[in-house]
Symmetry: C2
Subunit: 365 residues, 2 copies
Amino acid sequence: MTAVDNSVEHRPTLAAVAARAGVSASTASLAFSGTGPVSDATRERVLQAARELNYAGPDPRARSLRRGRSGIVGVVLEERVRDAFRDPIKIATLDGISEELGSIDAGLLVLTEVAGEAEGDEKNPVTLSDAPIDGAVLMGCSPRFEESIATLRARGVPVVAIEGNPGDDDIVMILQDNREATRRGAEHLKALGHTRVAIVALSLDRDHRRALVTPERIAAGTSATTLERLAGARDVFPDAPAYTGAGSYVEEGRLAALELLSGEASDRPTAIIAQSDLLAAGVIRAAEELGIAVPEQLSVIGFDGVKVDGLWPYDLTTLVQPAAEKGRAAGRAVKAMLAGNDVASRLFTAEFHEGNTTAPVPVVE
Amino acid sequence: MTAVDNSVEHRPTLAAVAARAGVSASTASLAFSGTGPVSDATRERVLQAARELNYAGPDPRARSLRRGRSGIVGVVLEERVRDAFRDPIKIATLDGISEELGSIDAGLLVLTEVAGEAEGDEKNPVTLSDAPIDGAVLMGCSPRFEESIATLRARGVPVVAIEGNPGDDDIVMILQDNREATRRGAEHLKALGHTRVAIVALSLDRDHRRALVTPERIAAGTSATTLERLAGARDVFPDAPAYTGAGSYVEEGRLAALELLSGEASDRPTAIIAQSDLLAAGVIRAAEELGIAVPEQLSVIGFDGVKVDGLWPYDLTTLVQPAAEKGRAAGRAVKAMLAGNDVASRLFTAEFHEGNTTAPVPVVE
DNA sequence: TTCGGCGCTCGAATCGATTCGAGCGCATGG
DNA sequence: CCATGCGCTCGAATCGATTCGAGCGCCGAA
């Protein structure tokens, strides 16, 4: 029905409202924005006229052109929405961002990375280079972000990167002590007497392969987070075998653990370092399935400190990262940059939480 | 530091690029947009000039004013980000929307419901009335959306509501056969001989209370989804007691089930209808904990058809709703309305999936 | 009576790009 | 040699609101 379209075309403008109220457009504008001195009588007259014309307030497009601000901050994900939002850490971070940004006038625009994918001539979604954003937060930033960063910089859009490669550029970063924290967890295991330790790792790159980690794969790895946590574990257990899951999911942890625990009991690992709590939960499930008692026969340690829904009665030993706080920090950083202030990168520290999934190495043999 | 601000001010404009390339602004515009006839030589000259000036392309704000479109679609949540994104169904739906919208030039702006909260004079985030959106999708729409809908309508923004109250208005809706589907599940239980059935329900309103459902609470309930599913279950088991969880989480299901299963074995329910798969997973955990075998001593049925990560080895009997498809339908609806077409509401049907968590009523007694 | 000051309103410029019809130059056909 | 057509480029209007300095009317003080 084109009638709809027509009614759409004829939406009233501020000028029309002003005319009806018998004032100038400038005055009407002031009446709406609340800024500047307008007599109550006039304001009321304008609002009344607006009501009569069914005028819903100033057009945000025009407003943002004139003001030079759209009030929108982009959040750039490197995966499709579904994958990104299955990660509780990302969600917590996002929540932190939105919480902080809520205090100024800003909405959150979800963007996926500027896609160079072979999409043919299919236009791609609003891209970084095309979105009316005042600032941007890059989440889980990989080398492929380089281009995006260049674009944003050229546009003069303030950028904050969460978990990028430190020193990449002079970009403001929100970092996590992945290596040190993992090392601390590993040392906990070492103190408990463990020597045969295996690692269940996150993806090394965008391929999301389930496979043993080899030096070649490490060299080709692009995920800073995975690499750092891996390095941290191997700082303590240099020869620990590692197996990558195809994502941070319970099921992936289970599959990886089944692989790693398949050997003879005698040379089976006595502890597993998982790079996320979801993976750790999967490791525990696999152990249950194989009749291996946690923590008596197998210690498990995670990373993240999300409470995995349904893991009860286990209280996972893990490294708690302040995900929401990181999000808030990112939000604050964007805010500050928008206000024209200089902002420094920030390093966050994970806190070791000792639950009931780690125990001294079994004395058997 | 105002120096930053200054550099920001001096960003080049299309006009500057045009001047440098020795062409008019209109030509430069054409060169960028790719529309219209521009000689290759000219286009190259313009692009070259742009490169030299470090011009990153047309300002999206100005563009959207002129074009009358921002290329952004708002997704309106009624909760804070963290809560909404913990629900796998919402995420799947969101993914569907973004997938469909990706095919046109549209980004997703996450908005939380137009907050009338007592925030004092704190400005609130970009609101529905203030966001540069071309269309909007209301998710999990409650009566409080009325106001938002009115605002959007006044602005002439096409709106699609997912799971609203049918017939609310003449709004385009994406609906689910909640009542009928639940009834089908209940009938399955009835056919297996169950008569003592209990219900673990989602929240009835925004209070998110853990409590038994009473007629009064039903009368005051605002969540259409919860009410419909409840009605469907009681179509078959009119006297089934129901207990609400404080959200769709495994842990809430567990708590609710502990409550419902606390009685003597003799008058304990032999089946539980959970209003979501996460709740159902919690019910199963509670049963394990109480030493009640599923499905031998307790049948459990869910709703949603999300594969609950880590529920293995159970294969939940449930009603599979096409969440992603609903999202895609919403996306398509917005697209169509943007194109000026008429769009009809759509009702989706859940499919019954028989897993291994339901069985005939135990013959004991 | 006149002037300074105050409070409100108005004009006009501006934000940066898009769009469309007009115009111009060149080549080809009659 | 002139008319017609074609391909490209340009001007000017437009999108809708915001902003800021100027202006106007009125009141109290000198």
